[in-house]
């Protein structure tokens, strides 16, 4: 009477636990299914249709895909995207690691500095893009005014096919370095201080300590930062949209911009979906490659 059969309790308890678990998961499950999985499925389906938004969708099988493989603009945009990723990922990673090392010390007011560095990430990308367009403005922009002080006639940053990409990439790096710094900072603070003392007792220079101890122990953080950055750079859109609209020419026309162009300027939703599927595949491939590479080389435990 006082205690029911233990076996039954466990069963009821288990079922109840499962129900509670699902109940708690439900809100985020709805989010994942409704806003992540469903759009992916819809885009996959749409990529098989000829749909000009105002016209009736028409099933065309793989026609969009054969168009895709013959479309120079698409391959060009993938190269442009790759160029963007190649500048942004190392740039953001290195800068954020340096910033993390810089602010990883106990000084008065340090937490305000940390917060300050994260602000660019919290600002609206479109607003950032606008402000940076003004800074880069060849005539009256802050950057060229500044260069003018030293007698340098600054170039037209955003309308030069050569400089436009590095310029928009610089804004990306500036925008995300502070945010990524937070992860490195957390990673650094997980490394026991005793290791620092031990290595300095052994006469290791700070540089040697960094490369032989800190960096290897930061690998899990590095994995996370690199993967999220690669994905983030592949999907970059808003600042480019505001600053260059893919131009000059098509020098900053990254894949996401091409998708936007096809969907919302030319209203070819079917084909835009097809390019999205391609971009999805590319990002998936890049992410899996990174995972496999790091899996082999990462230790998650400091002790042992």
């Amino acid at each position: 009477m006082l205690r029911p059969a233990p076996r039954r309790t466990r069963q009821v308890g288990k079922a109840q636990q499962t129900a509670v678990a699902y109940a708690l998961l439900a809100p985020s499950l709805v989010g994942v299914l409704g806003f992540l999985l469903a759009p992916v499925v819809i885009v996959l389906v749409l990529s098989l249709f000829d749909w000009k938004l105002l016209s009736t969708p028409e099933f065309v099988g793989l026609a969009n895909y054969s168009r895709l493989f013959a479309d120079e603009d698409v391959w060009h945009s993938l190269l442009v995207t790759l160029y963007y990723v190649v500048i942004c990922v190392p740039g953001t990673t290195i800068l954020s690691l340096l910033l993390a090392l810089l602010v990883d010390r106990k000084l008065r007011g340090m937490k305000y500095f940390r917060a300050l560095l994260v602000i660019p990430w919290m600002a609206t990308p479109v607003a950032l893009g606008l402000v940076w367009s003004w800074i880069f403005d060849p005539g009256r922009g802050a950057l060229n005014q500044f260069l003018g002080v030293f007698g340098i006639d600054g170039p037209a940053w955003l309308s030069s096919p050569v400089l436009a990409m590095p310029s928009v990439a610089a804004v990306h790096i500036w925008q995300f370095a502070g945010y990524n710094m937070l992860f490195f900072l957390a990673g650094l603070q997980n490394i026991p201080r005793s290791l620092r003392e031990a290595s300095s007792l052994d006469g290791a220079s700070p540089v040697a300590h960094f490369f032989t101890i800190t960096l290897p122990l930061l690998r899990p953080t590095m994995l996370f930062v690199l993967i999220t950055n690669v994905i983030g750079s592949f999907q970059a859109f808003d600042t480019i949209f505001v600053m260059t609209e893919g131009g000059p020419g098509d020098s900053t026309e990254v894949a996401t911009y091409l998708i936007y162009d096809e969907a919302f300027r030319k209203f070819d939703f079917g084909y835009a979906s097809t390019i999205s599927v391609l971009l999805f595949a590319v990002v998936l491939f890049a992410t899996i490659t990174q995972f496999v590479y790091f899996e082999r080389r990462t230790t998650y435990e400091v002790s042992g």
Binding site: G139, G247, G249, D250, K266, F267
Partner: protein, 424 residues
């Protein structure tokens, strides 16, 4: 076939709705009888002018108010197209020639012929090019609003500094002869001041060169493109020569859209002569520190022909208030409304002989807009229209960027333009 049937059904539907509303007015308006219409535009200058227009409209129709929604140019089309597709669009909105073909063939625009005749308006009292631009399968799907005419703006200070007077008649020819190039050369000083700006803008630039050289963009509306014809290629070559051969204009690295700053260069006084649609005046005036002069576009070997880009007021075919929206469209086409906008200097009304107030307004501001009016009365050419134009037009414009970079041969560029345009 199914397309025209659908258009017909929607057309018939709105006519029935119009007829139905007339007899059951009190029944339909159970909630107080007030109707608010949504009116969409992209020009925040003209928004101010429309306040007076809608105040007058509500005075005449006390039960109908109009709410304006102003969206920036890019978002305007994205949002409008998405809304038209989803069946929830503004009741009345602005439409350009560029976007007209794609909308017209999809049955989202209400035919206006009946309400135009019912309101006692006559289509032949508007500029024929604007009327023609918004006709589809013999139905009028846009109420002529204004005429955007291309003229040559110039910086009076720079002209005075160069010690010249603007000739009454500018001329050009593909070989570089004519008074236009002569003036442009005199106005080019060092590497910081250009006499002219030859840049990639179809409406105010290369389409005019083509037309005044006796060429044409296409043989007929919805027809075949002819950019690769000799006359067109000569005109396109001239646009390039102004930059690289005669050196009177900055090149594409500084002017090509989307990042180029051609208009700003004129505002800043770095470019002396700048072709523009007259609708630019209200925007340009507060930006510039010099007096603006207006000349007619240079006449080419076959005389002067300028591009006319008149806007129209379009009515959503599935509007919930077809009766009220119809009244609004008819009012916007009326002399009263067109003159309100013209007299305040915003537009040259599409209605014939309603432009006197426009001239008076700008005369007060020290700008003589007579050349715009004269050009509109002279030989004009419509912007090209073709099926699928919303997708083709940006593609063609992108190709023309090369014209201002001196790498790809002009004939190749023209061939690419035709290929994009004629692609089915």
């Amino acid at each position: 076939m199914s397309l025209s049937r659908r258009t017909f059904l929607i057309g018939a539907g709105s006519v029935l709705a119009l007829a139905g509303c007339g007899s059951s007015d009190d029944k339909a308006s159970g909630g107080g009888g007030k109707v608010e219409l949504v009116y969409r535009l992209w020009d925040e200058q003209q928004e101010v002018g429309y306040k007076a227009v809608f105040a007058e409209f509500t005075k005449q129709n006390p039960d109908i108010t109009v709410r304006m929604e102003v969206l920036p140019w890019d978002q305007y089309w994205t949002k409008l197209t998405t809304e038209l597709a989803s069946g929830k669009a503004p009741d009345v909105f602005w439409l350009t020639v560029d976007y007209f073909p794609d909308f017209a063939s999809k049955g989202v625009l209400a035919p206006l012929d009946d309400l135009i005749s019912k309101a006692g308006l006559k289509l032949d009292s508007y500029h024929p090019n604007v009327v023609q631009s918004y006709k589809f399968e013999d139905k009028q799907l846009g109420m002529p609003k204004d005429m955007g005419i291309v003229g040559l703006l110039y910086n009076k200070d720079l002209v005075a500094k160069a010690g010249i007077t603007m000739p009454a008649e500018l001329t050009w020819a593909p070989d570089g002869s004519g008074s236009f190039l002569e003036v442009a050369r005199k106005l080019t000083v060092g590497s910081k001041q250009w006499g002219f700006c030859s840049w990639n803008h179809s409406q105010t630039q290369w389409l005019n060169w083509i037309a005044s050289n006796g060429g044409r963009a296409m043989d007929k509306p919805y027809g075949a493109f002819e950019f690769a014809n000799q006359k067109s290629v000569e005109a396109l070559q001239f646009a390039r020569d102004l930059v690289f051969k005669w050196k009177v204009s900055p090149d594409g690295t500084r002017t090509n859209p989307p990042t180029g700053q051609a208009t700003e260069m004129f505002y800043r006084g770095e470019v002396a002569m700048f072709p523009a649609n007259n609708a630019l005046l209200p925007f340009a005036l507060p930006e510039v520190k010099f007096p603006i002069g207006v000349a007619a576009m240079p006449a080419g070997p076959s005389g002067r022909t300028v591009v006319i880009n008149g806007l129209s007021e379009a009515m959503f075919a599935k509007t919930k208030h077809p009766d009220e929206a119809g009244k609004l469209v008819a009012f916007l086409g009326s002399e009263k409304a067109q003159k309100l906008m013209g007299d305040a200097g915003y537009i040259i009304p599409a209605l014939n002989n309603a432009g006197a107030g426009y001239q008076a307004f700008w005369k007060q501001k020290g700008i003589d807009v007579q050349p715009f009016i004269d050009s509109a009365a002279g030989s004009t050419v419509n912007l090209p229209i073709a099926e699928g134009w919303t997708a083709k037009s940006p593609e063609i414009n992108k190709t023309v960027n090369d014209l201002y970079l001196d790498k790809v041969p002009v004939a190749d560029i023209a061939a690419s333009m035709d290929k994009i345009g004629n692609d089915k």
